[in-house]
Each structure stands twice: as structure tokens, then as C-alpha cells.
């Protein structure tokens, strides 16, 4: 369980980082909480690790133009503690689920998204909120929306010579409510299934979307506005949580059947994951709807 030998470099600027990445076999090292286990098990043997922790500008966490901008070396635990994350409630809900405190101390937000584990929380949050990823290389910079970013298990559109320098999470607007839940056998394990939900209620307009994870090779986002509307028509416009959950139950089963496309593994079968997703979906959509209506009341008053 020792990593194979590698060359190591710790540049001080983004320019120098991308220059190093332009070489063959170079890999970015940020928090290392996903990469180092891969190296320890020798599933990966990059010839060079480019440590980006000496670049001060990548350590920035800021808010501008309706987004919070999270730099490449911002740790998950720091974001969890920072007041800024309160403006993106879905992050606040999701962050405690990531690994353990000890992992979040070092693990970075951008690193988790770049690693794109199908069962990880942050790629799902990025997908649900349609976050924007900023990629930099010697060839220049480009912005990619979450919908185009994830392409498969541990795979994204990031080219080998590109660095994910920042992720922009849109700040929650009035009338938005969120839900997040996952199921794992032990706290901190990768989820067997999970769901991130955003519901927007502004006046009569209603929009609900859910991103499920752990159930396919990448996060899967579905629009569940019709299902929520139908459930509300059934249980009335101001339901309690349990009423709405019951109204959503059957419809959640249908959505789950649609989004879960993993063939199952030693931990859980496809059918079991569908049941998990359906349960999580009904619970979290209901929670998101109820917080969205109270949020719009607050913003109206």
C-alpha cells in the first residue's frame, strides 16, 4: 500500500501549474483524499504529481454576481464552516455527508468534482444547481456547465493538461428550497444511493429537479416538476411533510425506475437501489418544497 515513485513539483502560480500539466503523465494533487488511495493501491501510477497547494489564488473563496466561487484548493471543511456557504443551502446540506471530518479537513470541493466519483456528493450538488466549472490550460480558459461536465465514471471533460481552477455555485434565489439525503451502510462510506433536490416556487410557477447519485456511472438529473404538481393536486396546496411524501411515493417509484441504471453490485442490487432512490426522493422533494414555500413567505414579508 505504498504509492509507486513519482516526480513531485509544487508550482507557485497557475501558469506554472498548467505548464507542468502540459507534460505527459502529470496529475494534479490538491487534497489527495481520492487520488492518494488510488496511488496507494497502485491503480494509478502518474509519473508526476503537480501539487497545486502553493498557489495562493487557488485558495480563494468569494462571492460575486450571484455565485459563490470556490477555488481549487478550498477544503470541504472550510466551506462547511464559512458563512458564504449559507447562501448555497444545498452545499450546507451535502457537505456533512462527505467522508468524515478528517477527510473534509484536506479534501477539496473542486477535487471531488474533478474526480467525479459516481457516488460522490459534490458532483451531484454541482449537477443539481447547474454549477459552472472553470478550466485552465496553456491553451486558455473555458467554462463548462455541469450538464456537459460529467461524462462517465471518474470521467469528465477535463483534458489531461487542464486544471479545474474554480467552481461557481449559483446562490439560492427567493422561493428556493433544497433537500439532500443519501443512504450508506456506515456514515462516511460512499452512498449506495443519494438524492439532491432543488424546488423553486415563485408565485404560481413551480419547478423541481432532482439529481441522483450512486445509481449510474455519473449523477443523473431529472425534472420532477410534473410529479410534484400532481402530488400537490392530490394532497392540497399546503400539505404536511408526511402527506406530501405519501402523495409523492408512487410517482417517486416511477422516477427511480427511470434514473437507476446501475446493474447492481455486491453492496446492493438494482431493485434495492430503486427503492432507496424512491424513498429518498419522496422525502427530499417534500422537504425542499416545504422549505421553498416558507422561503418565499419570508422573502415576501
Amino acid at each position: 500500500m505504498k504509492a509507486a515513485p513519482f516526480a513531485y513539483v509544487r508550482p507557485g502560480t497557475v501558469q506554472d501549474v498548467v505548464a507542468e500539466l502540459a507534460r505527459d503523465g502529470a496529475k494534479v494533487l490538491a487534497g489527495g483524499q481520492s487520488l492518494v488511495p488510488v496511488l496507494a493501491m497502485r491503480l494509478g501510477r502518474p509519473s508526476t504529481l503537480v501539487d497545486i497547494n502553493a498557489v495562493p489564488e487557488l485558495d480563494r473563496l468569494s462571492r460575486d454576481n450571484g455565485s459563490i466561487r470556490v477555488g481549487a484548493t478550498v477544503r470541504q471543511r472550510r466551506l462547511q464552516r464559512d458563512d458564504l456557504s449559507a447562501s448555497v443551502p444545498l452545499l450546507r446540506l451535502a457537505l456533512p455527508w462527505i467522508g468524515h471530518r478528517e477527510i473534509r479537513s484536506r479534501g477539496t470541493v473542486c477535487g471531488s468534482i474533478a474526480h467525479a466519483d459516481p457516488a460522490a456528493e459534490l458532483p451531484a450538488v454541482a449537477s443539481c444547481l447547474d454549477a459552472t466549472m472553470l478550466l485552465t490550460s496553456t491553451r486558455g480558459q473555458r467554462q463548462i456547465a455541469a450538464a456537459e461536465f460529467f461524462t462517465g465514471a471518474l470521467t469528465t471533460v477535463i483534458e489531461p493538461d487542464e486544471l479545474l481552477t474554480e467552481v461557481l455555485f449559483p446562490v439560492a434565489g427567493p422561493g428556493e428550497g433544497f433537500g439532500f439525503g443519501e443512504f450508506a451502510r456506515r456514515h462516511g462510506d460512499f452512498a449506495l444511493a443519494g438524492a439532491a433536490v432543488r424546488v423553486r416556487t415563485t408565485g404560481d410557477a413551480l419547478q423541481a429537479r432532482v439529481t441522483c447519485f450512486g445509481i449510474s456511472d455519473q449523477p443523473v438529473t431529472a425534472d420532477v416538476t410534473a410529479q410534484l404538481r400532481a402530488a400537490l393536486a392530490e394532497v392540497g396546496p399546503s400539505p404536511t411533510g408526511s402527506q406530501l411524501r405519501r402523495g409523492l411515493a408512487e410517482r417517486a417509484d416511477e422516477v427511480a425506475a427511470d434514473v437507476v441504471d446501475t446493474s447492481g453490485d455486491g453492496h446492493a442490487s438494482t431493485a434495492y437501489r430503486r427503492r432507496l432512490v424512491a424513498g429518498l426522493l419522496a422525502r427530499e422533494v417534500s422537504r425542499a418544497y416545504l422549505t421553498s414555500t416558507s422561503a418565499s413567505e419570508v422573502s415576501a414579508s
Binding site: M1, F6, R10, G12, L29, P37, I103, S105, R106, G188
Partner: protein, 404 residues
Amino acid sequence: MTVPHSCPRTEADQPAEVRMTVNGNPVTLSLPARVTLSDAIRDHLGLTGTHVGCEHGICGMCTVLVDGEAARACLLFAVQIEGAQVTTVEGLGRQDDLHPLQESFGRHHGLQCGFCTPGFLMSSYDLLRHQPHVCREDLPTELSGVLCRCTGYRNILEAVADVAEAHPDGIPGPGNCGHRTMVGRTPAVSSGTGVVATDTRPETNPAGHPREITLPTGEPTIRIAVTSELTSSPQEVARVFDDVRLLARCLPGAELTDEVGGGWYRGRARVALGPVRLSFDGLAHVAEQSAERLVVAAQGQDSGGGGAQARIVLSARPSGACAALHAEADVFLTGRIAGFGRSLAGDVSRRMFEDFARALDQAASGGEPLVGPQPPRAVGILAAALADRARRRWQQLRRRITRG
């Protein structure tokens, strides 16, 4: 979180240099980039309190504090830690002054085999330091980052809950993070990769020895004060004090290998206790030498990764017609030998000083001390004791004859 300074490319077969502060001590390590922080702490610094279990971030055994936050040392390469403050379980408390968490784990029997204990201590320290008001119900989740296969967790949770209750305003900081020189493994042992240098390491002069042996500040691991009544006269003892080679022969298991000059000596000391075999190579410096007082500073490294430093003050004063030898020693142990029970290490050291006093007595009265380069053994100790008794009888007889 410290932002480290940039560093140029280090090739895979080259060592990289990294500076960090471990338990309050600045250290500089030179090691390949692929060496994890956990291996660096254990193999290069000899701090084996940090345990290594799965080596891929699951079990939590290797949990340490990096810049005050708990992290898995197996998921960090030591080179990444440049400029950071690392606290290991050794820094948490002292054997005679445990941290409240350590004390509570003991009281609640929060450990059985003890393998996960350093991980749990560091993880729960981090938790209570940052969330002193954490509620009991959240403890299982908050402490889920470390696995225990013995206790069923119940006693661990009790131990942590107890400390949280007793310290609602936050727990005390680490109690053993002083300015303390650490003794690391010799480079040869860690296959050429562990060139350990502490910033407090004294400069080496052309004669090949440091300018001085700097003892750690803080509490020694063992403090010894032994007074032995000798049969020799103060003048006879002074003769031994004057002859370092003879003096060294009186020390059980010790061997003088080289006289460097200027009061500096190289030597070896071996200890054999049942299955325990320790062999220290090191340096001694006679800092003060007079007819009735001898001050020696010594430092040694055991081939297994332990280290010892000591300041020994020997003084002889008249006690009737004979001399009384008083030995005082402050001994600092690091590495695996520090894991010896404090009282056992203390008892062994005290016994060694008693043997030393006996041998010195023999040497002073003109005999050859009955210890040599052989490590102290039961037979040797017994033989010395018998010879001592026989000689005393003979001296009593002689005195009677001269009187008569």
C-alpha cells in the same frame, strides 16, 4: 491552513526536503516524495504512536492534527506538509500528566488492544476543540472516522462524552508540545532515505562531534537520584573519576569505542532484559571533571529507532572514612523505547546505576570492575553482588587485624 511555498521539480529517485513542526519541534526531513506523512512520522522521526492500518484512508488509525485539524496521515505525502504544524498523539499529553481525553479513555476503559486509540484520541480532540458543544447523540457520527474492532465503541463514546461535559468551553490544548529535540532513526536504518535533522541540531565541527549535546527542555522521561555508600575512600574514587576509560568499564554494557578528544567520546551501550535487546550508539561529552564531581552529557540512538539523551551528574563526598557516590540523571527517551513502561525503564536505569556504583567501588579499590562490554545480565549482577560481599568481609577482617 498554511499555504506552503513553491518548490521545484523533484525527480522520482531524488529525495525532497521538507520542513515542518512536529509537536512544537522544527524538523527538516529529506525523503522521496512518495513517503506518506504517517511513514515519515514513524520511520523518520521515530514517533510510533501514530499507527498505520489500512494505508488508504479508511480506518483512521493514522489520524494526526495538521494545522490544528484532524487529517489522515496516510493520505498525505510528507512533502505536502511543508511549513505546517503537525501534532501527533505523543504531543497530546505526558505520561505523568495525561491529556483529559487520555485520562478519560483510561478511566472508561475506552480501549482494549489499543491499536485505534491514537486515532480516536486525535479525532476526538479535533471534535471537542472545534465543537465543544457537540451533543451526545451526534458522537457516533462525529467519531465514525476511526474504526475500533475491540470495544464496540460504547466506552469510547462514554469517554469522549465525559470530557465534553467536563470542558464545556473547550478542551485544553496539547500538553506535550515543547521545544524538544527529537532523535530520529539513523539514515542507514531507513535505507538512505531518512536523513533527519532537527533545526536545533548543533553544528558539527571538524572533529566530527557536535559543539554540544543539547538536552530537550521539559520533563525527562526518567529522573534518577541514587546514593550508594562505597567502601572506597574519596581519594580512591577521585582516581576513577579522573580516568574516563576506567569509568566506562564500570558502566554495565558500555563500551568506549573512540576517544574524539576535548572530552568527547564515542561509545556503545547495550541493554539486555529478557527478550529485550537494545544497543545504543552514541556520543558522550564530559562537561565537568573534578575529583569529586563529574558531569556527562550523552546521546545515543538504538538501531531499532529509539533514542536516548541524558545528563548525568556524579558526585562523591566523604561519608565517614569511605565515600558516598551520588548519581543524578535526567534521561529523555524517544521512539520505541519510550514505549517501555515508565516505571520499568526507571527501575532498570536505577539498577544500572547501582551496578555502576558497585563496579566503581571495585575499580576504586584497585580491582577490575566486574562489568564490561557485556550487557547487564542476572549472572553478572549476582557475581558482582557476591564479590562485593566477599571483599567487604575481607576488608572487615583486615581492619580487625590492623586494629588488633
